[in-house]
């Protein structure tokens, strides 16, 4: 039977087992909106297209399934760009459908026309303009395949309005057949063998694991690997949750705001095992002095990540989960492992001494105000760590990374690569849509939360009990901290002179709002908030404005040169 493009769109998404779309309608996609009006797929109506893309992103990070977005042409599409760039930088699987003016009008500056394929070329893994309705199923199949395989990423499909009206036979392909796209999954056997030999000959090994571990679903394999060999393990911001934050081998995060132990261990290691991480400048600090004594093993599915910033001794191109399984299979017998653990025992002691010497901490302010870090510790205690945490960007993000322990994968959602303020609230909503019964908390700054605050209405509309913990310092705190340290305390335009009353704002949206200024109030507010199951709640914590994130490695310095608390 023949179907029109809009119905083919819906039928194709059903074939891809899509259960949720995040979207916002407009003229160019009216036909699709008509088709999805009565279909099984849930549609979440957002308040701004950026919100839709971050929600799909949060949904994808929390579930591992690709997020799906639907927006109209022109301004709908351009509003989605920041979300796509965010997902692209963090390799998040996503398929974004944009409306487009009819084929005959493309290039004519037609009403609500934007060359979104051109605009998003550098911030999508791939994109398509559909020029014939007969290609539609093939393109959708390919898009989901490309978004979810290899190094994942967002894929965009631009749908001209006439294509949505045109009819053709609906035949959905079983497989995407793209001869020019063949990601490598299995590691090279010889390289795997070399890596195992190098590890077994090391005395001071460290595992440095990133977001690739989560993307490939390899948390179990990583945990097994590190525990079996007794390898001290550090995570990047993107990697948090990939190794249990509660494990004695866990060093905490490394890099600019990494722990003393993690940064010292990486600086002194003789064997750095980089897994699904990409030597980002926020991780390495001054690159020439990063891991200066180490032989480096680097496992990554993306060959362009290897030897991009640092020279690697043993590169292994492949899927992290596959390669870790191959490594685990090549490990020697229990006796040899015992010997190896003896050979590295002294190193583990040294690392533990570093961890003891400078624990993560903070000073209680003399003015008696709340510490933002304290609030996060209390959130951890109250939830017993059983929560999905989304963050905004800035100090709130770093404290959330440092002071909450992530025991399980896919529980920490944060814009690492692009650092997008306004990411956290919609991402939390996306995760809550996927897991209606889980506790989902957005740890926010008072600046960032205002960048997508309109999505409060979305959360209210769908009865999503997202918890928003605003660490309210009345400053663009992270920027203020840089001004304090590196610009002679000249606080140029970082004080939020006017601010809404977040409690009243929550109420205006039909949500719940609480404020806490003392430790007692923190207990009350968190306890009350966690009980709310049918609507979002804002917890406005008035915190010490002058608090900073420490340790801190000043930009351009080696990572063992830390400013400590």
């Amino acid at each position: 039977m023949k179907k029109n493009g809009a119905d083919i769109f819906v039928a194709s998404l059903l074939k891809e087992k899509v259960d949720t779309i995040f979207g916002f309608p407009g003229g160019a996609v009216l036909d699709i909106y008509d088709s999805i009006f009565e279909c099984k797929i849930k549609h979440i109506l957002v308040r701004h297209e950026q919100g839709a893309v971050h929600m799909a992103d949060g949904y994808a990070r929390a579930t591992g399934k690709p997020g799906v977005v639907l927006v109209t042409s022109g301004p709908g599409a351009t509003n989605a760009v920041t979300g796509l760039a965010t997902a692209y930088m963090d390799s998040i699987p996503m398929v974004c459908f944009t409306g487009q003016v009819p084929t005959a009008l493309i290039g004519n500056d037609a009403f609500q026309e934007a060359d979104i394929v051109g605009i998003t070329r550098p911030c999508t893994k791939h994109n398509y303009l559909v020029k014939d309705v007969k290609d539609l199923t093939k393109i959708i199949k390919e898009a989901f395949h490309i978004a979810t395989t290899g190094r994942p990423g967002p894929v965009l499909i631009d749908l001209p309005k006439d294509i949505l009206k045109a009819e053709t036979e609906f035949i959905y392909p079983d497989e995407a057949d793209i001869s020019s796209y063949q990601p490598t999954y299995k590691g090279h056997r010889g390289q795997v063998k070399k890596a195992v030999d190098l590890i077994l000959s090391s005395k001071k090994p460290v595992v440095y694991a990133g977001g690739g571990v989560l993307l490939s679903g390899a948390a179990t394999e990583l945990t097994k690997f590190s525990r079996k060999l007794g390898l001290p393990t550090t995570n990047t911001l993107m990697g948090l949750g990939g190794f249990p934050g509660t494990d004695p081998l866990f060093l905490g995060m490394l890099g600019m705001h990494g722990t003393y132990a993690a940064n010292m261990a990486v600086t002194n290691t003789d064997c750095l095992i980089a897994i699904g991480s990409r030597f980002d400048d926020r991780v390495t600090g001054k690159i020439d002095e990063f891991a200066p004594y180490a032989k480096i093993i680097h496992i990554d599915i993306d060959p362009t990540s290897i030897s991009k910033n640092v020279d690697v001794d043993i590169p292994i191109v492949g899927d992290v989960k596959h390669v870790l399984k191959e490594i685990l299979a090549k490990l020697p017998d229990a006796k040899a492992i015992k010997t190896y653990k003896k050979q590295t025992a002294e190193w583990r002691d040294t690392v533990n001494e570093w961890a003891e010497k400078h624990k993560l901490g903070y000073r209680e302010p003399k003015n008696g105000m709340l510490n933002p870090q304290y609030v996060i510790e209390r959130l951890y205690e109250h939830t017993k760590g059983d929560a999905i945490i989304a963050t905004e960007v800035g100090q709130n993000q770093m404290w959330a990374a440092q002071f909450f322990k992530y025991a399980k994968p896919r529980t920490f959602l944060s814009s690492g690569g692009l650092g997008t303020m306004g990411y956290g609230l919609p991402a939390a909503i996306g995760a809550q849509v996927a897991f209606p019964n889980k506790t989902v908390i957005n740890i926010a700054g008072d600046g960032s939360i205002q960048m997508n605050i309109q999505e409060m209405a979305t959360a209210v509309q769908y009865g999503l009990p997202v918890k928003i913990a605003i660490l309210n310092n009345r400053f663009l705190g992270m920027v203020r901290q840089w001004q304090e340290l590196f610009y002679d305390k000249r606080y140029s335009h970082t004080c939020m002179g006017a601010q809404p009353d977040f409690v009243k704002l929550a109420e205006a949206y039909g949500a719940v709002g609480y404020r806490a200024k003392t430790k007692e109030e923190v207990e009350e507010v968190i306890t009350a908030s966690l009980k709310i199951k049918d609507r979002p709640v804002i917890m406005d914590f008035t915190v010490n404005p002058m608090e900073g994130v420490y340790p801190m490695v000043p930009a351009g310095q080696p990572i063992n040169k830390m400013l400590l608390v």
Binding site: V117, R121, P122, K125, H126, L129, S180, D302, P303, T304
Partner: protein, 161 residues
């Protein structure tokens, strides 16, 4: 360092801007670029010449591999490639220097393809160095106009049996 890269891509709209975008996105200048269909009409071959640091170029080559429409990327060393460019050069000519000009044309196995009382248009093919050498010799005559193609390159066949 001058790099000559040959890229096989699927013959579709938008592929050229994906490829050139990788260069411009990293602030790399493309010195020349040639594209045309191969024997398979579904596949095009691009030859790109670019000047830049080894490490950055290696990164671009890897990134090119990653593009969904790219089938194969190969960077040629000078020894292993045959490389040709074509140039059309319009040169001023007078009764006095005509003979001298024609001897340059002959030495380089170039061709005169258009003649007017005051100018000759010369066609020449050759590798980059040869084109540069001809231009050097023709400059004193007065070059009125010059158009050049980019390089196209192909691997030499192995010399051993």
């Amino acid at each position: 360092m001058r790099h000559t890269i040959s890229i096989l891509v699927t013959n579709e709209f938008g592929v050229l801007s994906r490829v050139s975008g990788l260069f411009s996105g990293r602030g790399f200048n493309i010195e020349s670029l040639c594209v045309a269909e191969t024997t398979d009409p579904g596949i095009s071959c691009m030859t790109i010449v670019s000047i830049g640091e080894e490490r950055v170029l290696e990164q671009i080559t890897k990134q090119l591999h990653k593009l969904v429409n790219v089938i194969k990327v190969h960077e040629f060393t000078k020894e292993e490639r045959i490389e040709r460019e074509l140039a059309l050069i319009k040169v001023q000519v007078t009764a006095e220097n005509r003979a001298e000009l024609l001897s340059v044309v002959e030495i380089f196995k170039a061709k005169v393809v258009d003649v007017s009382p005051k100018s000759y248009t010369i066609e020449i093919t050759g590798d980059h160095d040869k084109i540069m050498a001809v231009l050097e010799l023709l400059r004193p005559f007065g070059i009125k106009e010059l158009v050049r193609t980019g390089s196209v390159a192909m691997a030499r066949s192995p010399k051993t049996k």
